[in-house]
């Protein structure tokens, strides 16, 4: 059982980070702290993807000394997936923060429950 955990250590840490970020979304009332929780969830997914490409004993995929055999380098494809993920995460965070600014301008509060209640009360 301990052997099982050690062999999948990267995956389990990624799952733990994901659940911590998710708990941030559930428990925090402040909108900025919820956005931070979403960012923690994104980082856990990068860890998961990047560790799936690793092969023990091999090097990073930059060709050195002209060796182009596939036995010397790790799998380069999951790194490309992480790049896409990072770009998407930056865009979503920027949009969420600008929506938070608009919400603050109208209701003068960063508390999501209060703003929803004010919005329902008005409309």
């Amino acid at each position: 059982m301990w052997n099982l955990i050690v062999r999948h250590l990267n995956d389990l840490v990624a799952v733990a980070l994901f659940v911590i970020g998710f708990a941030d979304l559930l428990f925090q009332k402040n909108m900025i702290k919820k956005v931070i929780g979403l960012n923690v969830m994104d980082s856990s997914i990068y860890l998961l993807l990047a560790s799936q490409g690793y092969i023990t004993g091999r090097k990073a995929p930059i060709i050195t000394d002209g060796v182009t055999s596939a036995e010397y380098y790790i799998n380069p494809i999951p790194s490309g997936l992480v790049l896409t993920g990072i770009v998407v995460s930056v865009s979503v965070t920027a949009l969420l923060l600008s929506m938070t600014i608009r919400m603050y301008k109208k209701y003068h509060s960063l508390d999501l429950d209060y703003c929803l209640m004010m919005a329902r009360g008005e409309g």
Partner: protein, 283 residues
């Protein structure tokens, strides 16, 4: 007076409407949900293949092809750069468009119309005493500290180094780790530091709304048109005549250098415009 203030306070309004029992039920069920989610995902992850095993199902013939034929087909020493800018170039084009769309959406939400140069000058004339609500026209948004000497002196030392390093990372994307995205982020950070230290009037001389628009649009168009040759050459099995150069030189690997520069410019303009829109309401 105190009773009225307490009645309008957010905490009492919410706690008046939501009873304590409902809050306790919500908290307990949220904890249960989080723990259940952790055990569900951990069970799935233990069933996945081991980390680092070379017989994993995702180390298949695609990775083998990219590594073995990457150097002679793309000319890039950095296999990941050759993959995202040559074999899978349209994905990277989509990502640049995602950044462009994000800039447009943030501009829609945060841009304050009707601001002209006269408004800026008038706001800058107001002295320290008048500062009321956070979002009136004459407010802290247009006020900039003029004599922050620590920031200015350190920015004079550090901003040229940051910009040069960012250009180095962008240009060396096909030789060493780097590329358009990381180099663009470094360039954007250098521009933001310059803006914070010297104010909008100094930065607008070279980085205003027109520059950002032209740079972004020209970069995206050049990327799109440069890579469209593969629609014709790929389907008809014609060799494209783009020279690949010697591996390891800066001017090598065909179009990867041009595409890296385009992506780097788009990312730098996006980072700068996010900051300027939040700070002031227009780029």
């Amino acid at each position: 007076m105190k009773a009225e203030r307490e009645r309008n306070d957010p905490k009492t309004i919410i706690s008046g409407k939501i009873s304590g029992k409902l809050k306790a039920v919500y908290r307990v069920s949220a904890v249960v949900l989080a723990v259940l989610l952790f055990f569900m995902l951990a069970t799935v992850m233990i069933g996945m293949p081991d980390i680092g095993n070379k017989n994993n199902p995702d180390n298949n013939e695609v990775a083998k092809r990219y590594i073995e034929n990457g150097l002679e087909e793309t000319g890039a020493v950095n296999i990941v750069s050759g993959m995202i800018l040559d074999y899978r170039a349209f994905d990277t084009f989509g990502e640049s468009c995602v950044l462009f769309a994000a800039t447009i959406c943030v501009m829609i939400m945060l841009r304050i119309d009707g601001q002209t140069k006269e408004d800026d000058e008038e706001a800058n004339k107001i002295t320290f005493g008048i500062r009321e609500s956070a979002f009136s026209k004459i407010d802290s948004r247009n006020y900039e500290p003029e004599n922050d000497s620590i920031l200015k002196k350190s920015a004079i030392l550090v901003v040229p180094l940051i910009l040069v390093f960012g250009i180095y990372v962008v240009l060396n994307g096909h030789i060493s780790p780097g590329g358009g995205f990381s180099g663009g982020a470094i360039l954007g950070a250098g521009l933001i530091l310059f803006l914070s230290a010297f104010g909008f009037s100094a930065t607008e001389k070279f980085m205003n709304a027109k520059t950002v628009k032209i740079t972004t649009l020209v970069s995206l168009l050049v990327y799109c048109l440069a890579k469209s040759y593969s629609f014709f050459t790929g389907a008809n099995h014609i060799e494209s005549g783009i020279p690949l150069g010697t591996p390891g030189a800066i001017l090598s690997s065909g179009l990867i250098l041009v595409l890296n520069i385009c992506v780097g410019l788009v990312v730098a303009c996006t980072m700068y415009s996010f900051y300027a829109l939040v700070r002031r309401g227009r780029i």
